[in-house]
């Protein structure tokens, strides 16, 4: 008797949970925005931008989703579910530029438009790639931000990156290397990887602080890494001695700008990025633009882009945030 009761109860529970989340009515155009992982503020902001674009386009539904862990395998599971739902477009920031290609090619075969943004997908796996900014400019920015706040532009700095396999961070670090000659007083003593996990990034930052006592700047081109580094600098009592900079979300860095652990940092606007990628996806779905080299695509209020030979384009320059404008932006994203 008890067994049967438990059985019934269990089944009812599962059924109830599944049914309580029935999706809303299907809109005309469905565009899925796939984050690297859920719970990353950057992609939540990009999702807001996508919603804004959807409102402007009209008759469009945004599906914002992503895996729990930032892995390619997790994103493939999400892509498979989206293919089954026959969405019109997948707008994705990739955890791996190559591993997603077979899954996204399957999506394209079934008539789904694929736009990658932020961390791109190899050209054979997507229609268009939208870079937030040019790699060269970001690379220069992450070293310039550190150099600008060094006494006489001289001193030792280190990079704290995300995962060692992240497409974008590696491209920016490589670009930064090209600009070492522009900052002769700056010595880059180490590049460490915090895997975009707070505790690992924090430990790596602690390691930098203790192994390089004369370090004056840590530059982290990832929003997880920069917050962890700023916290590590604060906890070590090194505010004023080590300046933490890099790329971050204003809302996550507001406290560290105010405490002085970070004098300034940069980021493009992720809301604009989500907005622009959605606009591009919509133009491709509606056939008002073609994904081919040289094509000019309008991205609404942000302007327009021109696709290069790899069908990729840059949105705009990164923007610097400091004590003068942090309050204004930290409430937005």
């Amino acid at each position: 008797m008890t067994r049967a009761k438990i059985l019934g109860l269990g089944s009812a529970l599962v059924a109830g949970l599944m049914l309580s989340t029935v999706s809303a009515a299907v809109a005309e155009t469905r565009i899925a925005v796939v984050a690297k992982d859920i719970g990353n503020g950057f992609f939540v902001a990009a999702g807001k931008g996508a919603e804004e674009a959807a409102k402007e386009i009209g008759d469009t539904k945004i599906i914002f989703t992503g895996p729990t862990e930032p892995t390619a395998e997790g994103q493939i599971e999400v892509i498979n579910a989206l293919i089954a739902q026959q969405v019109n477009a997948i707008v994705i920031s990739a955890n791996d530029p190559d591993a997603l290609v077979p899954a996204l090619q399957k999506a394209k075969q079934r008539g789904i438009t694929v736009v990658s943004f932020d961390s791109g997908v190899a050209p054979e796996g997507r229609d268009v790639q939208l870079d937030p900014s040019s790699i060269d400019l970001i690379g220069k920015t992450i070293i310039k931000l550190a150099a600008d706040n060094m006494p006489d532009g001289k001193g030792k700095m280190a990079f704290l990156s995300g995962t060692a396999t992240a497409t974008n961070q590696n491209a920016w670090l490589a670009a930064a290397k090209e600009h070492y000659a522009d900052f002769p007083g700056v010595e880059v003593v180490a590049t460490v990887y915090g895997d975009d996990l707070f505790d690992k990034s924090y430990r790596e930052a602690q390691g930098l602080i203790s192994t390089h006592p004369d370090l004056v700047a840590i530059s982290a081109p990832t929003t997880v890494g920069i917050v962890a580094a700023a916290q590590a600098v604060t906890d070590a009592g090194k505010i004023g001695k080590i300046n933490v900079t890099g790329l971050a979300l204003p809302s996550e860095m507001a406290a560290h700008i105010k405490s002085g652990a970070s004098k300034s940092f940069a980021i493009w606007n992720p809301i604009d990025l989500g907005y622009s990628a959605t606009m591009i996806a919509n133009s491709l779905i509606k056939g008002t633009a073609k994904a081919e080299p040289g094509a000019e695509i309008s991205i609404g209020r942000v302007g327009k882009i021109t696709l290069d030979d790899n069908r990729s384009a840059a949105m705009s320059d990164p923007f610097t945030y400091d004590a003068s404008n942090i309050d204004q932006f930290s409430s937005i994203f």
């Binding site: 089944s11 729990t68 591993a99």
Partner: protein
């Protein structure tokens, strides 16, 4: 109810007069419970999403679990014997890296498969050697090799990538045997049948249970405990190698972060399948059902675009409920018996 005798009322304990049948009944009910959950999820999915009941959707969803489930089959045997292997995901990374390395030198598809499976077997043998010959606890050994195997991948690859696998290599992870039956699914079903036979129909299977229940008694009964455990580690490594071939073929590329975190999902499948984490009890049917439950659940929630974090909470809850249920059952029953006595 006079078949139950309580020696000491202060320590209520249910002592059956027959051995075997209550255990068997519990295992049976366990698999019935899993089956009911699987059916419930299937039915709920069909109602919840108009896209679920579609041959291609159902086919796609099997890719969510086939590779992990293949490892879970061997892991079930290993856990029943009282050991564990936490390095399986790292074995995948190492196998995939060696296959990628070989592909750079123009090795063909049969050679790549042999390298992938062979590497897995060697990794398993290495684990087995450390555990059975040096007498180290398997949880410690495989935590070590978990870092070791993936570490080697990182040394070889760094932030690089191996791609350019031969076109025919793509068949294992992307090909279909017949209509919507993928090669991966067919291979898993065949392997499941084979493992069922091995565990439940051979003396080798009986020995695994005997070792898991009491390895000292098994040793004194003349079982070669070390050798059997060594073979089980090899088997787990072999299955990880096969999973590496499938996953690498499906992704078409190799990075050292491949299959990160899979060891926990594999062990979740095994435990959800009713295998006692302390060894000595369990069955293949439960593991197969658990694999389908996890696949159906993640895909179903994915179709509803439920964020991944909710899925994790769901899996975690399911696991705790499934582990807690039999313990609560036993306690309830013991209390009743104590009252009756």
């Amino acid at each position: 109810m006079n078949e139950h005798t309580s020696i000491d009322a202060a320590v209520p304990r249910h002592i059956p007069d027959r051995l075997g049948s209550p255990l068997r009944a519990r295992l049976l009910s366990w698999e019935m419970l899993l089956l009911a959950v699987a059916v419930a999820i299937f039915v709920a999915n069909s109602f919840a999403s108009p896209y679920f009941l579609n041959a291609w959707s159902l086919s796609d969803l099997t890719f969510n679990f086939t590779e992990k489930a293949l490892i879970a089959l061997a892991m079930a045997l290993l856990i029943i014997s009282g050991e564990i292997d936490l390095s399986v995901a790292s074995i995948i990374a190492l196998c995939s890296t060696f296959m990628g390395l070989a592909a750079q030198y123009g090795v063909g598809t049969p050679g790549l498969v042999a390298i992938g499976i062979g590497t897995g077997l060697l990794c398993g043998a290495f684990n087995g050697f450390l555990v059975t010959r040096l007498g180290l606890p398997s949880i410690v050994v495989t935590i070590g090799t978990m870092s070791l195997f993936r570490g080697v991948s990182y040394i070889i690859l760094g932030d690089g990538v191996f791609k350019g696998y031969p076109a025919s290599f793509g068949y294992f992870g992307q090909g279909y045997v017949f209509w919507v039956i993928s090669f991966e699914l067919a291979l898993f079903l065949a392997a499941a049948a084979l493992y069922y036979f091995l565990l439940h129909r051979t003396s080798f299977g009986r020995r695994i249970f005997a070792i898991g229940n009491n390895h000292v008694a098994a040793q004194f009964s003349g079982l070669r405990v070390g050798r059997i455990k060594f073979m089980l580690f090899c088997l787990t490594g072999l299955m990880s190698g096969i999973a590496a071939v499938l996953l690498t073929s499906r992704l078409g590329s190799t990075r050292p972060a491949i299959a990160q975190g899979w060891e926990l999902e594999v062990i979740t499948m095994v435990v959800l399948g009713g295998v006692n984490i302390l060894g000595g009890a369990g069955g293949i049917l439960g593991v197969v059902l658990a694999a389908f439950i996890m696949g159906l659940m993640t895909f179903g929630l994915g179709l509803l675009n439920v964020p991944g974090i909710v899925m994790s909470i769901f899996t975690g809850t399911l696991l705790i409920v499934v582990i807690a249920l039999p313990i609560l059952f036993r306690r309830l029953r013991n209390r009743r018996h104590a009252r009756l006595a």
